[in-house]
């Protein structure tokens, strides 16, 4: 119990310090929040992280270049392929290897499929967090499973693909991939429209999402948030557009932004991105050239690294992932990972201050965290 001034009067304020997680239905893994709650209002919230720390950056240093893919994939277990790809491009940049033309298309297609899968998972968990227990979750998991099946066809694995090789990919797209993929896209576009209609015509859903957890443009830039969270605040920044890699500059797609910066904007940006990614995949499938996409053989001893210092940046589903590497000839001397999840999580404290207890979890859900990547 403490005293404070409210509306010009000295009052007794009851502040409960409450420990949420790491075992809690909506903390998305092992996040622990310590929240000060007055009545039903969150006065302050602090995120305690590190429960999933494995020391990936250090592990990488003790291994040869191509022994580290699986570690990278386990950073973000919701979009493993994107992390694998970023790491391999860092190694490619260090070794000075060019990626084959067809392989670039294959990578783009797989990355975008991964983005769709990741955003679908976001939609499901978001609805869980605002209390629609598991209906949307099961529906989007069904869809996500179809993406995973496509990726399984393409890479031979369901969850952790390890499909990237230097200069190309491990397995080229199978023959019937295009047909299956188009069938999936046509089905999924319809489903996404259905979800949107179903959610946005629900007044309770709109009430829980609109105007909640507002992160305005300047604060978003100041806090350094990335990805859909940043674009939801109206900042035109997408690495695929601003700093194009592979064939993204040749493919026709729009950057999706909203300007309100609330939960609804963050949800909407992701929904739009799913649609845009599906269009992008269709586009890439049409333009993909014939030829060879298989990369260099997997060997422990590679040609020695040419560049000492490299940095790659990629738009992974949760934002801008940067990998900064100082390269020794056969293994990284130091690898530093700038995780988008970590910076997005750091915005929670700011956004959630003064909201209702129920909205704390809605905001947490809308930031779409994966703790594996936050804790590294």
């Amino acid at each position: 119990m403490e005293f404070g001034i409210r509306n010009g009067k000295v009052m007794v304020i009851m502040v409960t310090r409450i420990n949420i997680g790491p075992v809690h239905p909506s903390t998305h893994g092992v996040l622990r929040l310590v929240a000060d709650i007055e009545g039903d209002t969150v006065e302050n919230v602090e995120a305690h992280i590190g429960m999933l720390h494995r020391g990936v950056e250090k592990l990488v240093e003790t291994r040869k270049y191509l022994q580290s893919h699986p570690y990278m994939e386990k950073l973000d277990y919701v979009s493993p392929l994107a992390y694998d790809e970023t790491y391999v491009s860092a190694v490619e940049a260090a070794l000075g290897v060019d990626v084959k033309e067809r392989a670039q298309y294959v990578r783009v297609i797989e990355l975008e499929l991964q983005r769709v899968a990741s955003h679908l998972l976001f939609l499901g968990t978001m609805c869980n967090d605002i209390g629609q227990m598991f209906t949307m979750f099961m529906w989007t998991f069904e869809d996500r499973d179809m993406v995973l099946r496509l990726l399984e066809q393409a890479t031979g694995e369901r969850m952790f693909y390890v499909n990237m090789r230097l200069g190309g990919v491990n397995l080229d797209l199978p023959k019937d991939f295009e047909e299956n993929c188009i069938a999936f896209i046509n089905r999924e576009e319809k489903r996404i429209r259905e979800y949107e209609h179903y959610l946005e015509s629900n007044p309770v859903f709109m009430e829980r999402m609109k105007g909640v957890g507002i992160l305005n443009r300047d604060d978003a830039v100041e806090l350094g948030v990335t990805g859909p969270v940043l674009r939801a605040s109206g900042v035109q920044y997408d690495v695929r557009k601003n700093n194009p890699y592979y064939v993204y500059d040749r493919l026709n797609f729009e950057m999706q932004t909203e300007h309100k910066g609330d939960n609804f904007a963050r949800y909407k940006v992701r929904m739009l991105e799913i649609k845009e990614s599906l269009r992008l995949i269709k586009n890439a499938l049409r333009m993909i050239p014939e030829g060879d996409a298989i990369g260099m053989p997997v060997k422990l001893i590679l040609p020695a690294a040419k560049n000492r210092e490299v940095m790659v940046r990629r738009e992974v589903p949760r934002g801008e992932l940067m990998m900064y590497m100082i390269a020794d000839p056969q293994s990284p001397y130091r690898l530093s990972i700038r995780s988008p999840n970590f910076v997005n999580l750091s915005a929670l404290e700011y956004v959630a201050r003064g909201c209702k207890t129920a909205d704390l979890f809605a905001i947490l859900g809308s930031l779409d965290m994966v703790m594996g990547c936050v804790d590294k």
Binding site: T16, I18, N19, H24, P25, S26, I37, G39, D40, C127, N128, D129, I130, G131, Q132, M133, F134, T135, F137, M138, W139, E142, N202, V204, F205, E207, R208, K356, T357, A358, D359, L360, F361
Partner: protein, 336 residues
């Protein structure tokens, strides 16, 4: 058919015999019968809820235990009863137990005094409706006691919300009941049903009141989208967080019992109670109650949870004015 009516006649003769012992035996027999009905309804409702939600979510639901998984809830019950009851060190076990037992006994008592048919009611109070809603209004307070005494901070928040919710829907609900009483000219529940048999279902006569009452019922019995007290994704289980095994089983049973009570009330006050052609009264009543209950399952599977402050706003900005309008319209159209 005739023999069953004879049994009811005998039972009524015992009940109204004036002999205390015979009346007590009659009440006891009736109470046991009602408990059996509640148990069967709770069990089947629990199973149906799991199955229907599973179908909506493209899952199968329980399949292994018994045909169509019908024995799954029994297996769960046995599991819960055989586990250790863990009491947190700063909980007040007596109060926790008391709160659960109060809610259970109150809801069972209310089911007991509701009429299942014209001749099938244990006590025909002149103020039956008032008694029902007095008891119902006490339930959130029992939730408050349970939440606070569990010594859990989530329980505390849940307890606060419970009182806030009481403020938001209680008044509109009572106003709607007042309109129903005005229509039938009595607080007697039998009279309410008989009036509907002659004038038409109250759900048709005052549709606004019906909707308000249904919403208030959902809120009262912690059904989504108003499961704000035990919000699973926010407060873990709210006031139930620290209730372990046997008490948790009891709480689940209470949930379904209250659901039964709520559906019965909707069926009696708005859907004509036991009145209906061909089939006997109790069958009609339970059929209507089941329809209402199934409808709440669909609501549960498809809508997101409301926030407590929005709930208050809904209560005071919409439900209260609308229930007043309902009261006035009912008076103007049907009474004056």
């Amino acid at each position: 058919m005739t023999s069953s009516y004879n049994i009811i006649g005998l039972w009524q003769a015992w009940l109204n015999s004036g002999n205390l012992l015979l009346s007590a035996i009659a009440v006891l027999i009736y109470a046991i019968g009602v408990m059996i009905v509640i148990a069967i309804f709770s069990y089947m409702f629990g199973w149906a809820e799991r199955k229907i939600i599973a179908k909506i979510q493209h899952r199968h639901g329980p399949t292994y235990v018994g045909k169509y998984g019908i024995l799954q809830n029994l297996a769960d019950l046995i599991k819960l009863l055989s586990k250790e009851n863990i009491v947190p060190s700063n909980a007040n076990l007596r109060l926790m137990q008391l709160s659960v037992i109060f809610i259970l006994s109150a809801s069972t008592f209310l089911v007991l005094i509701l009429p299942f048919a014209h001749s099938l009611q244990v006590a025909n109070f002149g103020t039956g409706l008032l008694i029902v809603f007095v008891f119902i209004s006490f339930m959130p307070l029992a939730v408050f006691v349970g939440g606070v005494s569990s010594g859990n901070k989530f329980g505390h928040i849940s307890a606060q919300r419970s009182v806030l919710m009481l403020l938001s829907y209680e008044l509109p609900m009572v106003l709607v009941v007042a309109a129903a009483a005005m229509l039938s000219g009595s607080f007697n529940i039998q009279q309410v049903v008989l009036t509907q048999a002659s004038r038409g279902y109250f759900a048709l006569l005052m549709p606004i009141g019906f909707v308000i009452f249904f919403i208030a019922m959902l809120a009262e019995f912690e059904r989504p989208p108003f499961d704000i007290r035990e919000a699973d994704s926010e407060l873990i289980s709210g006031w139930l967080t620290d209730f372990s095994s046997p008490y948790y089983a009891l709480v689940l049973f209470i949930d379904y019992t209250r659901m039964f009570l709520g559906s019965l009330l909707v069926a009696i006050i708005f859907l004509g109670g036991w009145s209906g052609p061909v089939l006997p009264g109790p069958v009609w009543l339970i059929f209507k109650a089941t329809l209402v209950a199934l409808f709440t399952i669909i609501i549960r599977a498809t809508t997101v949870r409301m926030r407590i402050d929005r709930m208050l706003r809904l209560g005071w900005m919409w439900l209260l004015p609308l229930s007043l309008i309902n009261l006035i319209l009912t008076y103007i159209i049907f009474v004056a």
